[in-house]
């Protein structure tokens, strides 16, 4: 039986297997169809129907259950989340696992298309060490400045945010992995 206790390790192994067997495009389709439209159907429905309130309800519940250390804030026109200790990537790092080139991309892989359908765009960075930030706001508009303002919860203020050995992946007004801008900073 494949279990849930080591699920993140299995999931990373699966991403590498799918990409090796069927190619990158198939993996991108997997993120969209198997995760966004199947296993995360509740998230899709919540966010599509309730917008920012749905994001609050979904991520508050799910990340608490997964044991994440994160903060969130929202306004009438945005939802922001700062992940300080990702339970999923953290599991891989603590167990010294790295089977797939960019495990962190799977979040953008399913959240991006979901947000597109719900009418939102994403500003996001991840540092491949269990830390990232996300701003969701209306598609087709610039993100509200208040959403991008740095406060004490901004994960980028951490001393360990930057690491010369690990690139930071950046997305602005994005809705999928192909929208990745660079791997710098």
């Amino acid at each position: 039986m494949i279990g849930t206790y080591d699920f993140c390790a299995h999931y990373e192994w699966t991403f590498a297997w799918l990409e090796k067997q069927f190619g990158k495009e198939f993996l991108l389709s997997f993120f969209d169809e198997a995760i966004h439209r199947d296993s995360q159907l509740k998230a899709k429905n919540l966010i599509t129907e309730l917008g920012f309130e749905g994001m609050k309800e979904y991520w508050g519940h799910t990340l608490d259950k997964e044991g994440a250390e994160y903060t969130w804030r929202m306004g009438p026109d945005y939802f922001r989340m700062d992940m300080h200790d990702c339970p999923s990537k953290g599991f891989l790092m603590r167990n010294e696992l790295e089977q797939h080139a960019d495990y962190c991309d799977h979040c953008m892989g399913w959240i991006g298309p979901l947000m597109k359908e719900a009418g939102f765009s994403i500003d996001h960075q991840h540092n491949h060490r269990g830390q990232c930030w996300w701003v969701f706001s209306a598609d087709g508009e610039d993100p509200p400045s208040v959403a991008l303002e740095s406060d004490e919860n901004d994960v980028r203020r951490r001393k360990d945010w930057d690491d010369d050995n690990t690139p930071v992946d950046t997305f602005f007004r994005a809705n999928g992995i192909p929208d990745k801008k660079n791997q710098t900073e």
């Binding site: 206790y5 198997a34 167990n95």
Partner: protein, 170 residues
Amino acid sequence: MKNNPKLDPLPYHDRKPHGYGEFYRALNATFRYIDGKKGRSHLEKFWEDHGKNYMAPIWKKWKAGGLDAIALYWRAFFAHEPGAEVKVTANQEFVDIRVSVCPAIKHLKETDWEIFPHYCQHCYFVSEAAAQQSGYTIRVDGGNGTCSQRFYPAQSAPEKQNLSDIRLAQ
């Protein structure tokens, strides 16, 4: 995060004592997706590769430790699965795993989720692939929430697994 590898049957450890039940949905979706896009033979290969490759740290211990190591692993495995009710016993002939409450099927049913009908077959294909690497074989009987799984030494196995002995999940 790793415990003493000589004593610990599990290769990886989390900070939480149990897995997160909703990950069963992701497994269910993964099986459905591969089956739907590529067909059953590719899904079976996915399961077999999982048993051979992902589970290599596990079956290497089975190979070294025999039936006792197999029993030790499954006791530890199910102790970390949310909602599992499973009894694992071993004798000199086989390891017997009695699943009275399968945590995956329980969670999927309780959350009224559409279950991939052949979900229970993954237990056979994954475990058989891992078992073969270590000189053992498995027979599965039941499914859809309760089943029995027995690991035998490959040379003393009963007749071949009949996949129709594994019930469809619904």
